[in-house]
Symmetry: C2
Subunit: 225 residues, 2 copies
DNA sequence: AGGAGTTTGTGAACGGGAGAACAAAACGGG
DNA sequence: CCCGTTTTGTTCTCCCGTTCACAAACTCCT
């Protein structure tokens, strides 16, 4: 009874948070296909997960389904979007407009999924002439003013690894509290700042590990040495 | 029953496998800095993990440290590389040479971390003239022969989401058994084929979720300071 | 040579997440 | 109005991963 939790303060398990965006995408796909209602089984199939897991995940948000019927696609989609916080766009700055930065800047998926790139920054003056995806590449020195003016809280780092920590420090000082890091380096940031990393090499190395095992131990048994 | 586990087939927990590449990178950094020996504490700090976790992870590989001393950087580096399977390069093909594909093709971190891009493929004939990072962009039709000739087992998908499943099917048919997917779509593949996905939007949405809570949640918690 | 000081490797406790299974709720048909 | 069918929401159990804590093993200094 005292356990009456205010709607906004339920805490959702991290593993569930990581899957909500997948459900959101699956629902968008269903909606575009004309589906207006779906069962947990169908949605789970679209999202590539177990249906029991899906239902449990959704139960953390509340009771948005109807027993015997299923979920209203549009309604559930909105509820998840609201829970994640992507009912309105988040302003984002990208720092490091090299190979990867260009690709990110040109990525249309940003806009359609709750984010809006407000600035592209690079330390190299020779890049400042360029216009990428309709935005000027600006000096890294402008970081603070851009963050302040646009109320930016999310930053993306696409610089070489050696520069990543310095860029992160500067972002944090400017008021950014969430960082997505593409550089292969470990960032240290104060409490209250979230960092997530995307590391291509690590993903490939994990695949390599399993690949190596496939050829060594397909089914049969083995020989040491 | 068949529970006989050969020495060489120790199975390493998935969570540990995912961290080995991080340790490898940290060790490379230490070696470049001239360090020849390090303690679990130092290495853990470089890799951004808890030292107990590091020691437990390494214990799955064997006993490569010396009590009272620590680990020989070069020796441990080699042992981890061997375990992951990156003592020799793995050939890789990239399919979909658009914004992202270009960045990947130009990424030098591939080569230095155990991978070699052997071919760039795209379905769009107008791309076939192009040379990216010293490689011709070739027709997707050449997939089978390239995979066969170079003994490729790892493929990277950087096509639009709608094409991803078809590309994956074709890769699997050609003999590829590990796929790294950048397209935001759920791939279904036969048993024995590994798929890992890298999804930028999901990472940002996870950040957005926590970001939203930061601004809403300070109530009910011991705040102050 | 022996003892003090380090640091590894691991056993054990703990917490969180995955999946199976089921009771409660809604619908429809007669 | 009642009963069978469908599908959700939740409970329970098991497993994996994290962390603590400590004995074993090695070095170095006296
Ligand atoms: N290219 C890829 O496909 C790829 C894949 C995975 C990871 N990465 C990583 O992403 C990062 C960027 O890769 P890239 O290929 O785009 O490199 P790049 O060299 O092409 O681009 C880096 C850009 O960062 C800018 N920069 C350097 N220092 C800066 C600073 N202090 N402040 C602001 N900008 C600065 C440079 O001027 C350059 O434009 C690297 O860390 C790389 O390891 C790249
Ligand atoms: N650009 C980014 O930063 C970014 C970030 C995250 C995810 N992604 C995802 O990566 C994928 C590629 O993004 P992009 O920006 O490079 O798109 P893009 O449109 O620039 O490039 C896609 C390329 O794939 C080729 N292609 C299409 N169908 C093909 C097929 N059946 N076989 C072979 N090639 C085919 C196209 O000719 C094109 O060259 C998309 O799924 C996108 O959602 C991109």
């Amino acid at each position: 009874m005292t356990a009456r939790t205010p709607d906004s303060a339920r805490d959702i398990p991290e593993a569930t948070v990581a899957r909500l965006p997948v459900y959101l995408r699956a629902l968008t796909g269903l909606a575009e296909g004309g589906t207006t209602t779906c069962s947990s089984e169908e949605l789970a199939a679209s999202a590539g997960v177990n249906s029991a897991k899906l239902r449990k995940d959704l139960s953390y948000l509340g009771s948005y389904g109807t027993r015997g019927v299923g979920y209203d696609v549009e309604y559930l989609r909105y509820q998840i979007a609201r829970e994640i916080g992507v009912t309105h766009d988040w302003p984002v700055v990208i720092v490091g407009i090299g190979n990867l930065g260009h690709a990110l800047a040109n990525y249309s998926g940003f806009r359609s999924r709750g984010f809006r790139v407000v600035a592209l920054l690079d330390a190299d003056p020779s890049r400042h002439d360029e216009v990428v995806a309709g935005l000027d590449v600006r000096s890294f020195e402008d970081l603070e003013s851009i963050v302040a003016e646009n109320d930016v809280s999310i930053g993306v780092i696409a610089t070489p690894a050696v520069a990543a920590q310095a860029v992160a420090d500067r972002m944090v000082a400017a008021g950014i509290t969430s960082i997505l890091n593409f550089a292969p380096s470990v960032l240290s940031v104060p409490d209250g700042v979230d960092v997530r990393k995307v590391d291509l090499s690590i993903e490939l190395q994990i695949l390599a590990y399993h690949e190596q095992r496939k050829s060594v131990a397909p089914a049969g048994e083995v020989s040491a040495t």
